[in-house]
């Protein structure tokens, strides 16, 4: 009895792999597209910034400020385009558009540094282009930090001091989440493969009429569902591996946290996506409809509202609220925490429980709908 169920599942799952690998486009979509997507998004959005024009506002004009400006100017990243005389000019200069960042030193910079141990630099960037703003300020902060290190290393220095470089983005003050495309692409790819492909493959059986035969057969609905979804789970895991390898070796985005935790979070997200795919397949009668519904309902909001392209912080309340019910957002947020920030399990409990809740709800709902359709 058990053996027959097992062999029915096995025959059926094998067939699903035949469908995938015998159709050239399906194979391309499933295996090549994720690679293209991460390369495209990875390189297109996080472009290296070189020779960016910056402006300096330096009321102190002392040894320390000159050293820092010199360090910035001689680096490959920046060209000192002009010197400003007052803070009022800052706004004007960004409106002209070719200056990427303004470096503002506090008054009596060297004095403060030596006596109070505390000196201020303000880095102001144009937040309306969040990705390059972030890159520019990162580079500048790193250069200032290295100057700081050099000074600390000189023996004649009497007391430890600090340079506080304060980063400020105009127009988009917090800038969180605009970057980090890797988690975003991971979310998109898993959603695409699990939800869209499952929905389409079930819709195809309906379109061809083979679903009718399967329903007359002794296969249990749960076996049909499992054998339809297991191949896509396997493919998703392969893609997850490819994406992680690419992000580490091609995009140089290291995995800061636990790999197992990333896989665990991804598995939960895969279940959510599969359940969504099943739910769509109970509504869609043809492959075309399944594809459109998945595209419009699943992919578009993920692309637009997940912060891959537009930062969620600059959204209005309605879209912010909308973005909260998109499973991919929770997944992307958890992956960012673990993969980029290197945080542990405790920090993603909220995301995980929301995703798990969604998974349970959606699986229950789609199983119920699937059964209703049968009778």
């Amino acid at each position: 009895m058990k053996k027959t169920a097992h062999s029915a599942f096995y025959s059926f799952a094998i067939k699903e792999f035949y469908h995938i690998f015998r159709d050239r486009w399906t194979t391309i979509i499933l295996l090549i597209m994720p690679i293209l997507m991460i390369i495209l998004f990875g390189f297109a959005i996080t472009t290296e910034v070189k020779n960016a024009k910056i402006a300096i506002l330096d009321p102190s004009q002392d040894a320390a400020t000159h050293a820092i400006v010199n360090k910035l100017g001689t680096s490959e990243y920046f060209i000192i385009d002009r010197y400003l005389h007052s803070k009022n000019e800052v706004d004007e200069i960004f409106k002209e558009g070719d200056i990427g960042m303004v470096v503002v030193f506090s008054e009596n910079f060297y004095e403060n540094m030596m006596h109070t141990g505390n000196a201020q630099i303000e880095l102001i960037a144009d937040g309306s282009d969040p990705n390059s703003a972030l890159t520019l300020t990162r580079y500048a902060t790193a250069l200032i930090a290295s100057y700081h290190q050099e000074l600390l290393a000189t023996p004649e220095l009497q007391m430890p001091f600090q340079i506080n470089s304060e980063v400020k983005f105009l127009y988009n003050p917090t800038l969180k989440g605009a970057y980090n495309t890797v988690p975003g692409v991971m979310g998109m790819v898993l959603m695409l493969i699990c939800a869209m492909m499952t929905a389409v493959s079930i819709a195809r059986e309906k379109e061809l009429g083979t679903m009718e035969i399967l329903l007359v057969s002794p296969l249990k609905p749960i076996t049909i569902i499992l054998s339809k979804t297991v191949p896509y789970i396997v493919l998703s895991l392969i893609n997850l591996g490819t994406l992680l390898l690419l992000s580490v070796f091609a995009l140089k985005v290291p995995i800061a946290g636990s790999l197992w935790l990333i896989i665990f979070i991804s598995l939960i997200f895969i279940f959510v996506s599969l359940a969504l795919g099943l739910l769509i397949s109970t509504v869609a009668k043809s492959q075309m409809v399944a594809m459109l519904i998945s595209g419009v309902i699943l992919m578009l909001p993920v692309i637009l509202l997940s912060g891959i392209i537009f930062p969620t912080e600059s959204m209005n309340l309605f879209f912010l609220w909308l973005s909260k019910i998109i499973p991919a957002n929770w997944y992307i947020s958890a992956i960012k925490k673990v993969m980029i920030q290197g945080l542990g399990f405790a920090s993603v409990i909220k995301e995980l429980s929301i995703l798990a809740g969604m998974a349970i709800l959606l699986v229950a709902l789609s199983l119920k709908k699937f059964k209703v359709r049968l009778s």
Binding site: Y10, S11, F12, E212, L215
Partner: protein, 259 residues
């Protein structure tokens, strides 16, 4: 209430084992009665034609017999199992083929056969020999490794039929199996049906083609959810003094209220 239908219809004299017994089965959807107290028996190895105009209730009746939906009232057994309580066993013991062939076009001939053998729980060690046996009967050994999409329609249809009996069921249900196939292929297909019935497999077939109805051992004609006639084609033609089944059918179906 209706009189029990089996009193109306003559039963043939021989005592062959019964494959299907339907007793007053009824299916209602809300206030609409799709199938209205139908009763009939089908004997083992018999070719039983199930005729009726579109909307007469054929599909609903067939779904109940296949264990896909439960009768609102009445009792039926298929292969000795109760349709209301034992639908799982029924599904294992019947074959099913519809006008939309069950074959996957992007799978090879043997892969399709293997798939359904697996789904119907044919023992692993006999699957390969079973596939060869059936391919030989069809004369399609050479096509074992061909993709189904490369086969002509008539072959696909014969293959679909073979796939539906790959687990050697007691009964096979054919839902308008010859739709869209040319007359020569239809003849060949019926030869295949005869061979199958000779092996003791009961064939329950719905069709639109009245010339095909003549090939059946017995036929039932459904009008408005009820079986209005059940007899051998020869007896029916005699009763209505008709040249062929087409005339019989038109005389009966004319009374239909539903369409």
């Amino acid at each position: 209430m209706n009189m029990p239908d089996d009193k109306l219809f003559p039963q043939s004299a021989d005592n062959r084992e019964l494959s299907i017994v339907a007793n007053q089965i009824t299916k209602r959807f809300g206030s609409f009665t799709a199938v209205d107290h139908i009763s009939f028996d089908v004997k083992k190895g018999e070719i039983f034609g199930f005729l009726g105009a579109n909307g007469a209730g054929k599909t609903t009746a067939m779904k109940m017999l296949c264990g896909l939906s439960k009768p609102t009232s009445g009792k039926a057994t298929v292969a000795g199992f109760d349709v209301t309580t034992q639908s799982e066993q029924i599904k294992k013991n019947i074959g099913y083929m519809s006008q939309k062939f069950s074959l996957y076009e992007d799978l090879k001939v043997w892969e399709n056969m293997r798939l359904y053998a697996g789904i119907y729980g044919v023992e692993e060690k006999v699957i390969d020999s079973r596939i060869d046996e059936f391919l030989e009967q069809l004369g399609l050994q050479k096509e074992k490794n061909s993709m189904v999409k490369s086969l002509p329609l008539g072959w696909k249809q014969k293959l679909a039929f073979t796939v539906s009996i790959i687990h050697k069921p007691g009964i096979v249900f054919l839902d308008e199996p010859t739709g869209g196939v040319d007359p020569a292929s239809r003849r060949q297909f019926w030869e295949l049906i005869y061979q199958t019935a000779d092996k003791g497999i009961t064939v329950f077939v719905t069709t639109h083609y009245m010339d095909e109805a003549e090939y059946c051992d017995r036929i039932s004609i459904m009008v408005d959810g009820k079986i209005v006639k059940l007899d051998t084609p020869a007896n029916l033609k005699k009763e209505f003094a008709a040249k062929n089944m087409d005339e019989v059918f038109r005389l009966l179906a004319r009374k239909a209220i539903r369409n």
